[in-house]
Point group: C2
């Protein structure tokens, strides 16, 4: 019932800019802070801070390459994050279905009463 998710992962992917960054890294392969910032509505420095956050929770890894620093998604960790998204979604979905079923039951009873 209670989500019991890893809050660090959640808050990492909770930010819209960070989600976009993950999208970009997944679509275009490894990239740098500069290359990502060119496709995002924020500055390189902002992207750099987000990369640091994602790195801290293990969703991405970096490697120095000359004067550039390349970042790539950690697929296993992202898979864990996706699992948590799905878990919360499924939990709420189950609750919603239960509520809807109960509501329909009550409605049916009410209709029965009116019918008699």
């Amino acid at each position: 019932m209670t989500t019991a998710v890893d809050d660090a992962l959640w808050s990492a992917i909770g930010d819209p800019t960070r989600r976009s960054m993950i999208d970009l890294l997944l679509a275009g392969g490894p990239g740098t802070a500069t290359s990502l910032s060119e496709r995002l509505p924020v500055t390189r420095q902002a992207v750099s801070k987000h990369l640091a956050v994602l790195d801290r929770v293990g969703l991405i890894h970096s490697a120095a390459a000359g004067r550039e620093r390349h970042y790539r998604v950690d697929e296993a960790q992202l898979a864990r994050a996706v699992a948590q998204l799905t878990a919360v979604g499924d939990a709420w979905d189950a609750r919603l279905r239960r509520i809807k079923r109960i509501a329909e039951t009550i409605e049916r009873h009410r209709t029965d009463d009116q019918g008699e």
Copy 2:
């Protein structure tokens, strides 16, 4: 590919306290800021602010009842939010599977080369 989700909904459910609040409202039915704060590690005022946020994006609705104010989840809107969670999860999942498949293909080729 790009998630294109409603950012307002996402950031509303991105906060761990707000997710817990939704959990509590789903599990226990309508509640007040005070009743929720008793089961959360934050003060009533913090809960009240979160309720305002959730109300603004339409995830909950409130009704005055004497000196209390009752909040309940808007099921349709929560269903929309769940759909967006699922959409992002599915998109990333698809990407990850593609990456994994490509990696396996490369690995197979490399092994073939070594075998000859």
